[in-house]
């Protein structure tokens, strides 16, 4: 039996972890918001911007550690978050500039600071925006339409995640930090930290200096991953999920609904290398 602490939306209950194992959820109630939903409720207008069937703040206190599915559930009920992702989607489809937002905690919601690169340059000068002593809860950005830009996170994106982690720019617990992406290729993803020890080791080896990034670029782009702008969305998605697992990155990939950013699913890899996208329980 595994005891898992989750956000407050009911009393303890036996649950399945998806692999047939039963675990119990212990729910510390702190008077938070409403029911964040169970993942099975569809938005009331799935083609457009959804009206949340279970509105609420997500119900978690700021320092409650969330697993990837819990974080996904929290974000799907956050109308402001979905609006910012929609904003980035519009930017990805119409601009030739990389836009993004730094997310700061503000009670049970977030405030957003816009960050931006230069025209026709697939970069954002993140270090210019990070303020000393500030802790951020997330970083979301867009990849605009360009034949040299990926449909998934780039090596540089992973490096920025590690930079914020290593230099103390993340709110604690770090597992609640969310890195989001919307692309002109009609894809949207989150990456979250699933294992601190692995992410720390991976980052020190591969994300902490220029040589490490160059080495990682080789692995990213070469067989068997071939994560390239010329590869299909599905190939890049599956390869990124495999890359994250096989390279012991400690990171977890989640895939969102491009229409409305309402639902986040985990992209999982089994021991035989098969990739599946799974609804959170």
């Amino acid at each position: 039996m595994i005891i898992v602490f989750v956000a407050c939306y009911g009393s303890s209950c036996p649950c399945s972890d998806g692999n047939g194992q039963t675990f119990y959820v212990t729910v510390p109630c702190d008077g938070g918001g409403g029911n964040p939903g169970d993942g099975s409720n569809e938005p009331t207008n799935p083609g457009g911007f959804p009206t949340d069937p279970n509105p609420g703040s997500g119900g978690s206190s700021n320092n409650q550690e969330l697993n990837p599915c819990q974080l996904g559930k929290k974000l799907k009920t956050d109308a402001n978050f979905r609006a910012k992702m929609q904003n980035l989607k519009n930017s990805a489809q119409n601009d030739n500039i990389e836009n993004g937002f730094l997310m700061s905690p503000d009670g049970s919601v977030y405030t957003y600071e816009q960050i931006q690169g230069l025209p026709n340059s697939p970069e954002i000068p993140l270090l210019d925006y990070l303020e000393s002593g500030e802790n951020y809860a997330g970083l979301i950005h867009a990849h605009y339409d360009d034949p040299e830009i990926l449909s998934v996170f780039s090596v540089g994106d992973l490096a920025s995640l590690y930079y914020m982690y290593y230099n103390g720019y993340m709110t604690t617990p770090n597992k609640n930090f969310v890195m989001g992406l919307v692309t002109a290729d009609e894809t949207t993803y989150l990456i979250v930290i699933d294992d601190y020890v692995k992410f720390d080791n991976f980052g020190q080896n591969s994300l902490s200096d220029e040589s490490g990034l160059d080495n990682l670029q080789l692995v990213y782009q070469s067989f068997p991953y071939s994560i390239l702008p010329t590869s299909s969305n599905t190939h890049n998605e599956h390869s990124l999920a495999k890359f994250l697992k096989h390279n012991n990155t400690g990171l977890k990939l989640m895939k969102g609904n491009y229409l409305n950013f309402y639902n986040w699913k985990t992209v999982d890899v089994d021991n035989n290398g098969n990739v599946t996208t799974n609804q959170c329980p």
């Binding site: 540089g156 490096a159 080789l218």
Partner: protein, 188 residues
């Protein structure tokens, strides 16, 4: 006693041999999962190995590319990779000097913790390879696309390297010390 030593040596040799698995992308299935000790070869690399020259007006450019076995210390998976040197002269005055590179065939990520190789590949395809080239004058890495043409000619085009959202700052100096586009002749 001799038997024990012999058996130990045999066990050591068989373990050492068993640790490396050579992976040919053309012969292995799509569900291949890299494992510790794997050596992923590249069947296109040999056509890019060699020495290249470019001469135009007062500019002389030289590049030497070698095939090496690069091993990542974290995953302990190895890859075929190109490493190289460049030299740039203006009117016979050296602007960019050739830098040293490890003599050994097998290099590891730890070999480059404190130094940036002058040239290293990040993608090798059939008729094209993408190189990181370090511009020691501008003190930054740039991206070079080397494309195989006819008659031992190769096109090398340079462009700014993207760091995604980790662009160091807005004031990054643009441009390169090297010519933006060259048609190189492979001499060796």
């Amino acid at each position: 006693m001799k038997n024990i030593i012999f058996l130990s040596a045999l066990l050591f040799i068989s373990n050492a041999c068993a640790q490396e698995r050579i992976i040919d992308p053309d012969k292995i299935g799509d569900n291949y999962i890299p494992k510790k000790g794997d050596y992923i070869i590249n069947n296109f690399i040999d056509s890019f190995v060699g020495e290249y020259n470019f001469h135009q007006n007062e500019i002389n450019f030289y590049m030497k590319l070698k095939k090496k076995k690069f091993c990542d210390n974290y995953t302990e998976v190895c890859y075929d990779r190109i490493y190289g040197q460049i030299e740039l002269k203006h009117n016979n005055n050296t602007t960019i000097e050739k830098s040293e590179m490890p003599n050994k065939h097998k290099v590891e990520s730890s070999d480059f913790k404190d130094i940036i190789p002058q040239v290293s590949s990040i993608l090798i395809e059939n008729d094209k390879t993408t190189l990181n080239i370090y511009d020691s004058i501008k003190q930054k890495s740039i991206e070079g696309i080397l494309i195989k043409l006819d008659n031992r000619k190769y096109s090398l085009k340079l462009k700014e390297k993207s760091y995604g959202i980790l662009q160091k700052n807005k004031k990054n100096e643009k441009g390169f010390t090297l010519p933006v586009a060259m048609i190189l002749t492979k001499t060796n």
